[in-house]
Amino acid sequence: MHLMSRSYKTFLIFNNLFLVLLTLLCLFPVINVLAVSLSSSAAAAAGEVAEWPVEFTVKSYQFVLQSGQFTGSFQNSVIRVLTGVSLSTIITVLVAYPLSKESHVFPQRTMYAWIFVFTMLFSGGIIPSYLVIKQLHMLDTMWSLVLPVGVQVFNILLMLNFFRGLPKELEEACLMDGASHLQTLLRVYLPISLPSLATIVLFTLVMHWNSWFDGMLYMNHTDKYPLATYLQSVLNKTSIPQTEMTVEQAILLQSVSSRTVRAAQIFIAAFPILAIYPFLQKYFVKGLVMGSVKG
């Protein structure tokens, strides 16, 4: 680029340096806590750990993974994610398709759309929602975590805008060939909607994996807690609860501290997201931008 001035080149260098710094600043707290989780309790307590583990050990992870509560709530979370994501994805697609039709084809579309969008704008809040779940006898069941968040209006809007961006001729050709709406949706629309579908699956998956408050509200028994709720309940405690500890754990406890154990719990909970993120990342920017383009 011969057109670049000297001052602009200097700016570019500083700009890149600044962005590298910003990126490191984003990562550093995460790396620091990861290093703490892999350090000895003495090194962590002395504040010697920065970006690299001191006196490397995986004892904290062993300690966490041997806890029955932790593995139990991990399982609860996996079940929750699987049921929640399938339910939400099916409903999102089923609702987005009719709402993506033009008003002259489907005259009630606007009314239905407002019924859904209104739930984004106004809500009863936690108290009436809690009372409804209670009256339906859904406390302590997986349904209380899955059904109330089954309709994700934001995802519906993304999907709807994506469907609208598809060429009209596609649908006309299908209906001309005698396909029903459901067939059109399943055989033609969905296969070409993979980026958008991947985006909403990612969003719902992350939402379910991260949700902790509903678990705390609706589950009376701690063994029903999803992982995020369990973590929330232990992360703020300064000491490790000594109850229901196995002999192996009691021995391990001597070589870990509550700080290194907390750090290990944070990382085990973050791991699934770290693991799927690289695969879905290439989709969500594309899906998000395509979904938000208005036709």
Binding site: Y97, L121, G125, I127, P128, L131, P148, F213, A228, A263
Partner: protein, 301 residues
């Protein structure tokens, strides 16, 4: 005639597709809205909804008299306004700087890292923040001490707590918010830049006269739409970071509702606070969308 009946049959299928979604929101969104009526009742959780004891505005009067109510309103509004301001300034700056980057690989790498915290919950990020800021062993205070400073207990200091909320909120969300502005930047007509170069505009002039006016509509739109969030201070974040020592500056309406409603089981009073919050938010959102439609031709769907 034949075409008419065929269309009606097809539309029947469209109605059917909506049924599962409609049932779920009827039960889990609209029923709780009706349930807000307990804000006007002397609600007894054992008797339930069957026996209604209307008590007019008693719960609201009780709410006004609560010593924690007005401070919570004030905290919520202050925290939200700080967050909204930072939430526009930081991502716009980041998008402008990223837009100047030439190497696609470098740009992608930066984006990948800054998007990521968005996908972690406040339970995880809160755990990290608490560890990093802890006055004893936390890395931030280790650094402060290395430079000869005194350790600061950020999370139990009323002076610092709101700044911690705003900064950590940006840490989590600024990267994700830049997506919108980056998309807006790429849609600016390249011809405008060429014309500016012909007129002898340098890089700064181009930014000032082409780029900034180019993204102004989207900046105004995002600011307008965030109006509706003024009564949301961010429950997840505050709940995972606060403690009784910082109630004075950090207690927001949602955390107050939780404490009164769920912890103290005063359902009716908590529902009254929730109702006020929802109504004011709805008015603000409505106003925001109205402005967005008038000035940016924005529609929700």
């Amino acid at each position: 005639m034949r075409a008419g009946t065929k269309r009606r049959r097809n539309n029947g299928q469209l109605h059917l597709m909506l049924v599962p979604g409609l049932i779920l929101i009827a039960v889990f969104s609209y029923l709780p809205m009706a349930g807000l009526s307990i804000a006007f009742q002397d609600f007894n959780p054992i008797v339930g909804f069957n026996k209604l004891n209307w008590n007019g505005m008693d719960n609201f009067e009780y709410m006004w008299a609560l010593p924690d109510f007005m401070p919570a309103v004030k905290n919520t509004v202050i925290i939200s306004i700080m967050k909204i301001a930072a939430g526009i300034l930081v991502p716009v700056t980041a998008a402008l700087l990223l837009n100047e980057v030439r190497s696609v690989l470098f740009k992608r790498s930066v984006q990948t890292v800054i998007y990521m915290p968005h996908f972690f919950s406040w339970v995880i990020l809160g755990g990290i923040v608490i560890d990093v800021l802890s006055p004893g062993e936390g890395i931030v205070n280790q650094i402060i001490q290395a430079f000869g400073g005194k350790p600061i207990s950020f999370l139990s200091s009323n002076q610092w707590f709101r700044y911690v909320l705003v900064i950590t909120d940006q840490w989590k969300e600024f990267g994700f918010s830049t997506i919108v502005y980056l998309a807006a930047l790429t849609s600016i007509d390249q011809g405008l830049y060429e014309a500016a170069v012909m007129d002898g505009a340098g890089r700064w002039r181009q930014t000032w006269n082409v780029t900034l006016p180019g993204i102004r509509p989207i900046v105004v739109l995002m600011a307008t739409l965030s109006l509706g969030n003024i009564l949301n201070g961010g429950f997840d974040q505050v709940f995972n970071l606060y403690n009784p020592m910082v109630y004075r500056t950090g207690d927001i309406l949602d955390t107050l509702v939780y404490r009164i409603g769920i912890v103290q089981t005063q359902y009716a009073v908590a529902a009254a606070i929730g109702l006020i919050k929802s109504v004011v938010s709805l008015a603000l959102i409505g106003f925001g969308y109205w402005i967005a439609y008038r000035f940016a031709k924005y529609r929700i769907f």
